[in-house]
């Protein structure tokens, strides 16, 4: 069940830092990767390639957890448990280029082909941004 982000969380997601994602490997262990993200229209959006290990994990088990943490203040963080609800090709790498501008202020420097855009619906939020109990 999707949840809405609190105003504080919505503000926090506009700050620029990578999301650290956790996915489920087939053997039951957790894989962790840093990725660029944006939060828009109630969903988190990340970008990848179909050959990525973490994307293969999501196709088998769509559960994903994002850890958002302020690189300048380790006590500001949120854990978002969510689910991949959709993914689509990113023709021309439009979305990765958009993310590149958010993070680096310039065009994406690597090849823009074969990219995909992944939509993640938040289901549960924990951490210090909303207060510990939530």
């Amino acid at each position: 069940m999707a949840v809405e982000l609190s105003p504080k969380m919505q503000e926090f997601t506009q700050e620029v830092y990578p999301a650290i994602i956790g996915t489920n490997r087939k053997d039951g262990s957790v894989q962790i990767n840093p990725v660029w993200f944006e939060f828009q229209d109630g969903s988190f959006w990340i970008n990848g390639g179909t050959n990525r290990g973490w994307f293969k994990h999501l196709q088998r088990d769509p559960r994903i957890t994002l850890l958002l943490i302020d690189p300048k203040n380790m006590f500001r963080w949120a854990q978002v448990q969510g689910r991949m609800v959709d993914w689509a090709e990113d023709p021309g790498g439009e979305h990765i280029n958009h993310l590149s501008h958010r993070y680096t202020g310039r065009d994406y420097q690597n090849p823009r082909t074969g990219r995909i855009k992944i939509q993640i619906q938040p289901e549960r939020i924990k951490g210090s941004i909303d207060g510990w109990g939530r």
Binding site: G22, G28, V30, L67, P71, Q81
Partner: protein
């Protein structure tokens, strides 16, 4: 020491340099229902093991004690794509009744002793044996 020396050998010099810094580790564990939990935590790498500290109330140390399995990611906030991840196994859980270990960790990160413990809070130190390096972009 079973596995100790061999396990250290799996960390190359770049990864060792990374884990020698007072950066946070991201702890990946599984809840009972198979969903994923990620938490930031303080750590120290010494004698071939990763040492973390928590209390008996938190979910992530409970998950580790149930599964014996843990993933640790080390991400340098100033260069986020300079990172490494290891898969580890719980080697020991050591009570920290006088909060000496957590005070030492707190000094490493904040320069001060840890906060006052809450009533009934029992600190524990988790000794993690690195099994393999699973992600690396250093």
């Amino acid at each position: 020491m079973a596995g100790g020396a061999d396990a250290v050998a799996t960390l190359n010099p770049a990864v060792r340099a990374l884990v020698g810094q007072p950066i946070l580790t991201v702890v990946g564990t599984k809840r009972g229902d198979g969903s994923l939990q990620l938490n930031p935590a303080w750590f120290e790498f010494a004698d071939g093991y990763f040492w973390l500290n928590s209390n008996r109330w938190r979910t992530w140390p409970k998950n580790v004690q149930r599964d014996g399995d843990i993933t640790l990611a080390f991400i340098d906030a100033s260069e986020p794509f300079r990172w490494a991840s290891i898969r580890g196994r719980l080697a020991d859980v050591i009570p920290d009744p006088n909060h000496e270990f957590i005070d030492g960790l707190a000094r490493r990160y904040t320069g001060r002793a840890f906060r006052e413990l809450r009533p009934g809070e029992e600190r524990i130190t988790l000794k993690i044996e690195p099994v393999s390096v699973t992600g690396e972009m250093i």
